[in-house]
């Protein structure tokens, strides 16, 4: 079949098909005019689609599909066409344990801290964070913390007539409205892909920080005021080029390299302390200053 027929049969656009070929998710078509695609292409496309629905990133799908023969492909397709039960789906993603490790510790940084200070950990039943690191390196980092910039409460909608029940604003739709109303006050941070649509939440940024294991808390407090820090979701926490972004105020951010050096961390802590002291002098509602 030619590319148009393949597109029709698979429900995937020709552009996407070409992109997949280019990205080596699909084998090259057979030469000819027009180029010919086979049922294997069709199967692969169906499988890619299913896997995408399971939120697998393309490079992981690519790895999965590499070197599969027709039988294996068909088997995998059957498995994924039947709605996979949660347990089965889980084997395709990072494990729940690794995921939590990543969220709790932002992976390597926290692991590193634990090792440095060697506190008696209660050792929660989880595998080591190596897989989490690997995923970070691949750039597949969960979305996060730093979008929690301070936002004003939803503006009163007094001027607008209330919507009729037929046209109730869905939560997802109401967010842009509040954004439009007060553009200057909102520190815009790009929403990472895959995150849930903001449902009109008004997070408190100064507190939107990483959760920690109780046992490392005290040590962390000595190293840096972790509770006030939102680590940036950047890749590869174990290389020196990892930066943390701390939103101090709408429009004011501090970027700090993740460092193990105690002196460095002490300086950062003092800097943050000073910043918070200055900012705390500002009244909470400061529309007039903007």
């Amino acid at each position: 079949m030619n590319i148009n027929e393949l597109a029709t049969a698979s429900g995937v656009t020709t552009r996407t098909i070409r992109y997949y070929v280019e990205q080596e998710l699909l084998p090259n078509p057979e030469y000819g005019y027009p180029a010919q695609y086979t049922t294997e292409h069709l199967q692969r496309l169906a499988l890619i689609r299913r896997l995408k629905e399971e939120y697998l990133p393309l490079d992981e799908i690519k790895t999965m599909l590499q070197g599969l023969n027709a039988d294996e492909l068909a088997a995998l397709l059957t498995e994924h066409t039947a709605n996979p039960p949660p347990a089965k789906a889980a084997t395709l993603l990072t494990s729940a344990g690794d995921y939590i490790n990543q969220v709790l510790g932002r992976g390597a940084v926290r692991e590193q801290m634990k090792q440095n200070y060697a506190p008696p950990t209660p050792a929660p039943a989880t595998p080591p964070a190596t897989a989490a690191r690997k995923e970070q390196a691949a750039g597949a980092v969960p979305p996060t913390l730093d979008r929690a910039a301070p936002m004003p409460p939803a503006p009163p909608a007094a001027t607008a007539p209330p919507p009729t029940p037929a046209a109730m604003p869905t939560p997802a739709l109401s967010a842009p409205a509040s954004e439009a109303a007060i553009p200057a006050r909102r520190a815009r941070v790009d929403t990472p892909p895959g995150s849930i649509a903001d449902e009109g939440a008004q997070p408190d940024a100064s507190r939107a920080a990483t959760a920690a294991f109780a046992t490392v808390r005290a040590q962390e407090a000595a190293a840096a005021p972790q509770a006030e820090i939102a680590p940036a979701p950047t890749a590869g926490a174990n290389d020196a080029e990892t930066w943390r972004r701390i939103v101090l105020w709408p429009g004011i951010e501090l970027h700090i390299a993740v460092h193990e050096d105690r002196r460095f961390n002490r300086i950062v802590a003092r800097l943050l302390e000073a910043a918070h002291r200055i900012l705390a002098e500002e009244p909470e509602k400061a529309e007039d200053t903007l």
Binding site: E54, Y55, A82, N83, P84, P85, P86, A87, A89, A90, L93, T94, S95, A96, G97, Y99, I100, V103, L104, P122, P124, A125, T126, P127, P142, P143, T144, L145, R147, A148, P153, P155, P156, A157, A158, P162, P163, T164, P165, M168, P169, T170, P171, S174, S195, I196, D198, E199, A201, P203, D204, R207, A208, A209, T210, A211, A212, F213, A214, A227
Partner: protein, 413 residues
């Protein structure tokens, strides 16, 4: 045993203009629990022990936790985690052998109240405990709190995201909010995205009831990963009125209903928008229901091809008597959306807006279902809420309304 049926409120749609109708897919699970085996359970009980929990709330929470532990067998596993500003693993995840039970019950008795509320840390630590136990088991975290998350991660959007990610990895989250001070938006969203349930507990005496209910439900899971797929013909678009997770695309909508327990029912309702078309042509709709049957472990797929719409003259459309039950159900979902909207106005301080939304919803429901006693009761309730809204809702009432709308949108009672 699952029975289901797809119904559209009308058979005919006009040829000369776009029209709207409703499709309801009612899914019912039989009362009998699966014979043979139930899913072994891995449960993390995460208890808030912040200062505000001290006294009867923590007492009741301890009692309820002890009840859970006693209910479970050696195949099940339980972890108990408490948090204030720090997180403690009271009992790491362990099979509930008699000996382990005795030890855990003893540890539960010694839980004492403390400081602030590191909700995220407690929750994630609980999830961590059950994380390794997702294969062929039901891994669930039950979070019980009376306060706002004020230490650690606190952003509802972020926490809901993590809850969804964990659910995709086999760990589900149920949340229980006690009293007037918790963040219902946060807890409801964590549970909704987390594939568990949200409970509003007005006073401590109800903690045990709710936990019994949750545990009972979890133990009688009949079908897992329940998914409804609706395929639409060209010229028809659909919006889901309920709060179920929606996937797929415009032509084939996929609704995730997750795990269903004995006696439970779900009825997703779609608003169909139908473009004009040629007289007498038929628009077929296909519904598919997929799930994993717990008793047999098999994946089942049911298919329904009986629903269809037919283009007809306007006169014929107007002569048709629509299905009142489907219309009423759709309108009740609109009412829940109205409550959601009213709460948002209320939170923003626009009490007049809040009242107007509720009154409008009452009027509409009155028009749609003038003869239904259930709808009439709801109309009266809405009118009373509309009155109340003009002065702003008290904290407990806000929670009750939030709970009520969340339950309606997810077909829970």
């Amino acid at each position: 045993m699952i029975t289901w049926k797809a119904e559209i409120d009308r058979r005919y749609v006009p040829t000369d203009r776009a029209s709207e109708c409703y499709l309801r897919v009612s899914i019912k699970v039989g009362k009998e629990t699966p014979r043979g085996r139930r899913l072994p359970l891995t449960l993390a009980l995460v208890l808030d022990r912040s200062g505000s929990m001290s006294g009867s709330k923590l007492d009741k929470a301890r009692e309820a936790a002890a009840y859970c532990v006693r209910q479970l067998g050696a195949d099940d596993q339980v972890a108990v985690v408490t948090y204030d500003d720090e997180v403690d693993i009271v009992g790491p995840v362990h099979a509930m052998t008699d000996r382990a039970k005795r030890r855990l019950l003893d540890d539960i008795r010694h839980i004492r109240s403390g400081g602030n509320t590191n909700l995220a840390g407690g929750w994630l630590t609980g999830a961590q405990e059950v994380a390794a136990q997702t294969d062929g088991r039901l891994a669930r975290v039950i979070l019980l709190t009376d306060g706002l998350a004020n230490v650690g991660m606190t952003d509802p959007t972020e926490l809901a995201h993590h809850a969804a990610e964990l659910r995709a990895r086999g760990v589900s989250t149920t949340t229980m909010g006690i009293g007037a001070d918790f963040n219902e938006d946060l807890l409801e969203r964590m549970a909704r995205h987390g594939g568990g349930h949200f409970y509003f507990i007005e006073n401590a005496a109800q903690i045990a009831d709710m936990l019994h209910r949750e545990l009972g439900e979890t133990l009688t899971t009949v079908a897992r990963g329940v998914t409804l797929e609706v395929t639409l013909p060209p010229g028809v678009e659909a919006n889901l009125l309920n709060d179920f997770e929606l996937g797929g695309d415009r032509h084939c909508l996929r609704v995730r209903l997750d795990d269903l327990v004995a006696g439970e029912s779900r009825a997703p309702v779609f608003r169909l928008i139908v473009q004009p078309g040629r007289d007498d042509t038929t628009l077929p709709l296909t519904a598919r229901l997929r799930y994993q049957d717990v008793a047999s472990g098999e994946t089942r797929e049911l298919r329904d091809d009986d629903s269809a719409l037919t283009y007809a003259t306007r006169a014929r459309c107007e002569a048709e008597r629509p299905n009142a039950a489907v219309q009423e159900e759709a309108e009740l979902l609109n009412v829940a959306r109205a409550r959601e909207s009213a709460l948002r106005y209320d939170a923003a301080g626009d009490y007049a807006g809040s009242a107007a939304v509720l009154n409008q919803a009452a009027q509409r429901l009155q028009t749609v279902a003038p003869a239904s006693p259930a709808a009439q009761a709801e109309v009266a309730k809405l009118q009373a809420e509309g009155q109340e809204a003009t002065g702003g809702f008290a904290a407990l009432r806000r929670k009750a309304l939030h709970y009520s709308k969340a339950n309606s949108l997810q077909n829970r009672e």
